[in-house]
Symmetry: D2
Subunit: 141 residues, 4 copies
Amino acid sequence: MAFRSKLRIRFGDIDRAGIVYYPRFMHYFHVALEEFFADELGIEYHTVVDTHRIGLPTVHLESDFSRPFSYGDNIEVEVRVRKLGRTSVTFGYRVFEESEDDPRIVGHNVTVCLDMDNFKKMDIPDWLRQLFEKQLGGPLE
Amino acid sequence: MAFRSKLRIRFGDIDRAGIVYYPRFMHYFHVALEEFFADELGIEYHTVVDTHRIGLPTVHLESDFSRPFSYGDNIEVEVRVRKLGRTSVTFGYRVFEESEDDPRIVGHNVTVCLDMDNFKKMDIPDWLRQLFEKQLGGPLE
Amino acid sequence: MAFRSKLRIRFGDIDRAGIVYYPRFMHYFHVALEEFFADELGIEYHTVVDTHRIGLPTVHLESDFSRPFSYGDNIEVEVRVRKLGRTSVTFGYRVFEESEDDPRIVGHNVTVCLDMDNFKKMDIPDWLRQLFEKQLGGPLE
Amino acid sequence: MAFRSKLRIRFGDIDRAGIVYYPRFMHYFHVALEEFFADELGIEYHTVVDTHRIGLPTVHLESDFSRPFSYGDNIEVEVRVRKLGRTSVTFGYRVFEESEDDPRIVGHNVTVCLDMDNFKKMDIPDWLRQLFEKQLGGPLE
């Protein structure tokens, strides 16, 4: 099974309509990505950014939302490496209420590898590419 | 020219990489949408939500980011009505640094009209449809 | 030892100065409070709000910050019930880097018990008062 | 009259209780401070941070909240320089609904002047002290 990060919907994540404010899901994606780096890739995201001086800004994002989330729902954010280019990596996300089989949100973000010292695009370094490659493939549960 | 909302990038909008944290743009889109309702459609968004009990949750979002924004950049978020369905309305967004001709971000969000009292999809009411229709069409600058 | 909630500082919590944006700590306090309700009081905060229709808005807050937090710091937020009035409850907070003995932040928030159906102040109901009372007292480590 | 920044309460600023999530006010304070720098002191805050490499992190904050704000309220955040030390400056804040005479929130934040290149406390430089001094004093409306 793919990596899932268990998150809690917070009191302050709710909007005037009484459901999770949609930009928060983009934040949840990033939080889950940070957990994915620590737990699956074996390197803390802050080490990637602060020590290796590599950034992964989003250049394309796309998501479908089929049902809203409310305060009190228990949320699981699945993270996968969907595609690896020379300079880009695509992360796939699915968001589940923990008791449900079908995701309520399905999306992906394309990111590019950036040298944080000059903000220029760079090839994904080999050590990082190898970590991503181990996560690629497998059935699309 | 299409409606543009002038926003300021805030000190707290910046992330560890020194650029605007990408989920903030989804928030900027919503802020610009609220301004669009007030200034172009002639009705405050809180009136739509709290008085008319109509919500417009996002069911699909999609954006391309070509260049990051930094603290101190002056930002303009263009809002358009791109498509009108029976129950759905698609808003198009483009984000400019105010001194530039080309947008750094181009995206759109598909929203559905929801009865806030039962969270069921509903046809866009005529009075609101007419407001949206006036904003439709025109060249894609 | 008092209850502590382990939190992760997130990539997006950092501000332009490269440290945690100070309003985020007020959010961390609330997140830790939600954990405190679930883990120590034995009732989920969303149940208090949504089922019992009780709110606990902050009417006074006060905090001292002795050292900033950076991305990658592991954070622990201690929560205590400091004082119980007829309608008010004061929560004390201390924020530690997990490897340190001295807190970097010490603060407290006074909240009042509100009937969420009319937004009027109300006496803390007995069942909730008893939960708070069990947490009162003890040495100030 | 003291400087006031007109802000809009946003759809996403509302919490599960239907009022502005209290950490947002700390964000509003900072937003108003950024406007205060630009409009009253005559220097953009990002210039202070990015060009002069000076930070003003909060070391103490304190606020009283007498009435909540809802979506649709028009908000004005007053900013004043309350006190000037050798290395510290205290900003006073009051938050009004624009049609009301009495503030709903009264608070202040003590900040210290920091050299952003080594994160050490420093004396407020003369040019900045002079800007702050012009804002000091006057009756407490």
